[in-house]
Amino acid sequence: MTHQRETTAAQAGRTFPTDTAVDFVIIGSGVAGASMARELTRKGYDVVMLEQGRNVGPDDMEHDELGAFRWPRWTNDAALSPQTFRTTPDAKAERRQFVRYARAVGGTTLHFTGNYWRFRPIDFREYSTHGGVAGAALADWPITYEELEPYYTAVEYAVGVSGEVGNDPREPMRSRPYPLPPLTVTGPGVLLEIGAKKLGWASKAAPMAILSREHNGRQPCHNCGFCLGFPCEWGAKSGANWTMVPDALASGRCELRTHSYVRKIETDDAGRATGVIYFDTDRKEVFQKAKAVVLCANGAETPRLLLMSKSNRFPDGLANSSGVVGRHFMFNGGGSASGEFEHEVHAHKGPVVTRISQEHYELDPKLGLYGGGGFDFRIANPALMRTNGMPENGPMWGSDFKKRMRTWFLNSVDASGHTTSLPVPTNAVSLDPELKDAWGLPAMRVTFQEHAEDLKLYKYFQERAVEFMAAAGAKRVIPTPIRTAPRQTVHLLGTARMGNDPTSSVVDKYHRAHDVKNLFIVDGSSFVTSGRGQPTMTIHALAFRAADHIAEFARKGEI
């Protein structure tokens, strides 16, 4: 067990003592944490990055569908980190896993799809555009698209995003074209294009964090098809494990400690963060001193850790004078449909997504719907999950089922819609009062119920998906039932929202906690509204922007 630290030291090329305050301790090595580490080390600061999971190297990457989807080979594990769930705050939560994320170096980008959609200006000003929605705490972001644009561009060039500037005049300005051309189109991509052409809908090559050409010494996608849910053996899918983490470690200023599970951010009597307490590989407590703490544990674990970090000075949890830590939990919704086609599509080959339609990004106000979204065509899962989840419109076992399995696997595609979801104050991550995790810490408790306006939007997208599939030429179209909580969810947003007003938000526009001067919170929790389906690019750009400002504060002695 002790070799883990030695490995870490070898990776980093150096180690930092725990009893001397390092410039920054970063909690989490996902896209946010690893990007903060890369950017802060490039600006000359020393960082210790703590990751609860392990380092998944190439020999631990396999086309193992059972590991990816059935037993948690790379994701959070109910046996270690159980969760509870309820729909309303007055109900008792029952044991159930609701939140899913990759528990490994690189975080969920280890196994993501790689959709790297930018937000558009509307995503930052939903409230001023639409006005309020009853039962939702809709608000504008304290930053604009224009402020974030340079960072979107920097991210695209840092990781090598493949894509094309479409000819849709509703797309926002960009300062540079995509660094890499689009990925090779797949069968689902062609079908999307056929449907979009027939309906007159906007469509274009998908912006993807997957390499279409060699970039920074990494090779392009080999179209293996085991993509969503799987780490990329080729290093072509640009998860933080292949991009931000190696860059940070190569700086010689970053130590990555895996199997390091933080239980508390420690503060002193003056209300400043002094460092973090974590359990190491052997579940021994370690205190790492730091001049500043950067919390990037994801939209569900970040609020949990803040709530666990309560003290006499911060009785309701750290950085929670507003009472909104954990609240406004969002993830993206959607509406979809499956289609069976005359010829073999072979949607299991290549990247999950190669073409998208953002025709419905902003909806006609006359529809009376809040929000919007976009579509791609895909099959999300490989053979087992795809055939197990076959629509129940024929035999589900026996010889005829076996024949259907093959046709369904080779000839079917889904029109997959991705949408906004509203920030509802009672939808929240909190601490379960009874259940403990494997380290004896309070388990994550989720309270969640879809807002009625969201369900109307999902229905609208489901109807458009049916229309899209038919236009693409499907012989048979099957609407996908709209799934409501408690389904498992992966986009974890909004639980430590950004804002100018300390009474209604957790961090300011530079990701500094309103209540703690040397605590910065950067990940999906910072989102004020959900965006339209694909949050990772915005988390990434926010981290680049935050690092710029935080380094400047450090330089001026303002931390």
């Binding site: 070799h3 883990q4 030695e6 490995t7 070898a10 990776q11 392990r54 380092n55 998944v56 190297g57 190439p58 020999d59 631990d60 396999e62 193992d64 569908e65 059972l66 037993w71 080979r73 090779t184 189109v185 797949t186 069968g187 991509g189 062609v190 294009e193 056929i194 052409k197 090559a205 010494g217 990494r218 080999h222 179209n223 293996c224 053996e233 080729w234 290093g235 190696p246 086609f341 010829h343 073999e344 599509v345 072979h346 949607a347 299991h348 080959k349 290549g350 490989p382 053979a383 087992l384 055939t387 197990n388 076992w397 026996g398 089922f401 076996k402 399995m405 093959r406 696997f409 080779l410």
Partner: protein
């Protein structure tokens, strides 16, 4: 042969062997070479896939017979050729061990149903295919059948190192190739001539 070597050997027929390709990828970055070499596997199963580790021989015979009705051997291989029973047997001591009671109770109850309907000497495995299907149709909506169905599919389509999908017969049956990469065109619709006919251009 350990699990990994077994999986490697099975994939070696592919254009790029898994071992070559992992080595190639690892060599891209010294950082990851170190990381990869020291990486620990947190779990593994498998080994001898023709020895029972959980079921009694009688239980295994019933599970084998049920799985063979869910995915029958007909003009293509089914659960039996894939060794699904060995997969389920191993999984109930591993990642699916929480389901062991469900299987034990389900098999017991199935045995009682068969005895009541066909006489005390009868077992599910001894019935004709038509009789077996009739019995299964009656329990189609039970949690036991649901678990049996998923486990059969999983044993048919998971990596052979888990005990089933022998020689990748399951993957081959549904059209999942045993390769580490694909080249365009992938299917019918993205062939350039079909794109041209359907879209008037090649994307």
């Amino acid at each position: 042969m350990d699990d990994q070597a077994q999986a490697d050997a099975s994939i070696d027929a592919a254009p790029v062997s898994r071992r070559e390709f992992v080595a190639g990828v690892a060599a891209l970055s010294a950082v990851w070479l170190v990381a990869g070499a020291a990486c620990t596997r947190e779990s593994s199963w498998g080994g001898d896939s023709t020895k029972l580790v959980h079921f009694s021989p009688a239980q295994a015979a019933q599970v084998d017979a049920i799985s063979a009705r869910i995915l029958p051997s007909d003009d293509t291989p089914g659960a039996r050729e894939a060794g699904v029973v060995y997969f389920i047997d191993q999984s109930l001591t591993g990642f699916a061990k929480d389901q062991a009671p469900l299987f034990a109770e389900g098999l017991k109850s199935l045995g009682e149903t068969v005895a009541k309907k066909h006489g005390s000497a009868a077992t599910f495995a001894s019935l004709t295919a038509a009789q077996q299907d009739a019995v299964l149709r009656d329990i189609e909506k039970t949690p036991f059948f649901g678990a049996m169905r998923f486990a059969t599919l999983a044993g048919f389509l998971s990596l052979p190192k888990y005990g089933g999908n022998k020689d990748y017969v399951g993957w081959k049956m549904i059209g999942q190739e045993v390769v580490m990469e694909h080249k365009a065109p992938f299917g019918w619709y993205d062939r350039p001539e079909n794109q041209m006919a359907l879209l008037g251009k090649v994307l």
